[in-house]
Symmetry: C2
Subunit: 452 residues, 2 copies
Amino acid sequence: MNPDARDPRGLERLFRPRSVAVVGASATPGKLGHVLLRNLIEGGFEGPLYPINRKEPEVLGLRAYPSLLDVEGDIDLIVVAVPAGAVLQVIDEAAAKGVGAAIVVSGGFREAGNAEGERQLVARARAAGIRLVGPNCQGLLYTPSRLNATWPVTRGVGPIAVVSQSGTVAAAVAGWAASDGIGVSAALALGNKTDVNEGEAIDFLASDGRTKAIAVYSEGLGDGAAFMDYLRRATAKVHVVLLRGGRTPVGHAAAQTHTKSLAGSYEVFASLAEAAGAVVVGSLEELYDATKALATLPRPAGNRVCIVTSSGGAGVLATDAGYEAGLALARLDEAAMADLRSRLPSYCSVRNPMDLTGDATAELYEVVLRRTASDPGVDAFLVIFGDPIAGAADMVRRMRAETAKPIAVAFLGGGEVEGRELGEFAAAGLPVYPSPERAMRALGYLRRAAGT
Amino acid sequence: MNPDARDPRGLERLFRPRSVAVVGASATPGKLGHVLLRNLIEGGFEGPLYPINRKEPEVLGLRAYPSLLDVEGDIDLIVVAVPAGAVLQVIDEAAAKGVGAAIVVSGGFREAGNAEGERQLVARARAAGIRLVGPNCQGLLYTPSRLNATWPVTRGVGPIAVVSQSGTVAAAVAGWAASDGIGVSAALALGNKTDVNEGEAIDFLASDGRTKAIAVYSEGLGDGAAFMDYLRRATAKVHVVLLRGGRTPVGHAAAQTHTKSLAGSYEVFASLAEAAGAVVVGSLEELYDATKALATLPRPAGNRVCIVTSSGGAGVLATDAGYEAGLALARLDEAAMADLRSRLPSYCSVRNPMDLTGDATAELYEVVLRRTASDPGVDAFLVIFGDPIAGAADMVRRMRAETAKPIAVAFLGGGEVEGRELGEFAAAGLPVYPSPERAMRALGYLRRAAGT
């Protein structure tokens, strides 16, 4: 049992290990035991890394050991990628070695009909006080520790965490966050989640000082009441967005064959989770879009949005999406509009949506945003760049420094200029959405989050 | 009036002009008259290009003319980017010159309160037999003619056409199609659509021999019955996907201030359009996703989908999305499954979804697809690559040559390998979606299209 009062659940040695062993480390490219060790090295883990391989004296340039018991130093975390039949012995050796946590990547347990093997695995780990992630999981990325015990390698440190039964969902969210220049704190894939579960994971991440919003993908929660308690605690500190796989009858059946999770009524789950402060979404892209917004944008005081666009059509589409998301078009201050009518070119449409037309420049957007930023009738901005508008990212960066109101951005139809500007937005860590509807819905997620 | 019986509406000189004049061509970078001429040059238009500029003898290296009447040769198409007050005189000169079609990019007409100016513009063009696109529009890209009379420059020739009141919607669809390696035949932005409208445009494109699916964005149809007639004719030859801006009360109001379109009941419009064979969608990304699927994938004979995935979680999400889209999980042939169980690694889950797990290789996918391609219980495939799976694009290319059933592809969570593979998919013009739900919905659009 873990005796540390500051870390009663022993998750510290999982997320911030001082040393890591890869059991089943392989010199053969393509094997998981190779990929995992290589990614830990490429990810820049700074403590000792111990490849465990019965035959090889060296793997990927590191001294290898026949078993955990042959390692001289202490081992906080083991990452296990040996066949299912060999995992129990590894856990026994880990127990003898005083290992704190094990990520069991290996499949071949409950999901493959081997419930008894899984039961034994869990019992032995628990008896030894070893916290267990998996089995049948894709591991853990924790960027504050430079711990890349998963695949693929994801670069970029940021405020988004993802906790997921599915490794692909975790990797997709982490990959999108990296491409967007926003980055992640954690990507944790729980697999069969026999021990460490969503509740404990979000509890740890909500307090790590790095994470601002957590995306959770789950196919069913074992102890729903305990999860809701964790969720309430977490949403007092950070935002949590939830996606439940198996919402529909056939999806539910598919989830049961996948990780054998017990899924209760989706409607009950969703309403309880929303009551506990989470934002519940219905697709993988929404999971990412919402988490991105909540991790990077301030929360609006109300639901009144001012749309500033170079495209009337995109403004119309955003208006439709806003209506469906429970947002309203702000009624703009008459004096500000009169002032803008005198300062903007005559072809601009000074109302809401504010249509600067295809002749718009970043400077025109800035004139409008600066003049309306303090309008008490406006809670949030949706800025749509629907043309090749150079300087867009710089302008948004300046305006974000001048207003506490959220500015959601969509960029589309901008050709090569758009490509360059998206690079600038990413370099500055500013969120951008590829369509007017997704950007507007981002403001909707901000409104739905706890505390607004 | 156009006397050609093969082109009774005179659209030939719009889409396939032998010569183009840019009225208001400017040597000043950033001005629309500069951008339009430069894009026509960069787009590789092969006929004579005539810059019209009252002062300059040369613009962008081309001899310029003070007016249309000073050009010696015939002019099929003019692109007009002068202030609204100067447009009428341009049309009069075009009439005297025998011009066939005019794209009036200039704003400052009905959308700016100048209904009388617009009325006069239309009357004079009609009297002269000049077909009119716009005013207040973003022009036309028609790749079979290498005609890039719009912005930004879009490269890539392909089977998708987009006809849109909004220039940004047209440019976004064209840009996404180019990035995906699929490409467009046409991107036509209608603006105030005083003359050439959605109906005539889809009628022309449906018969051009280049276009397989047309995306239409409209904020309201003047003569709805005439449009539905055009739509029925078009969907007998190609697929048409429709997005109506202003579906909601506030969106409707925004659309009216934008292009002053008269929008009837959305529900009536949507049901009439579906009855006429179109697929009606509710967002810009859906407009593109559906058009992409319909332009590149064969139509399935039924709604029974076989999911092959490396990610159980992504398979669950796809199953949920399929249920919501009216698709069913195929019941796979028992003999084929028994055969696959003997040939696949034991950790693979041989059912539907077929979960090859994170160890999956392109070769494993190919074994499964080849064995199930002829299963009479399967109408379509959803292939999800949820890991760094090299060779995915090559495998899909081979399988597409072997089966007439549609294969929708999602790729996510694949890190650098995914980036390389997406390049391979694009180079081969194979459609890929970024999430399991969007790929599954793509199969749903195929089912909803006329004739399935």
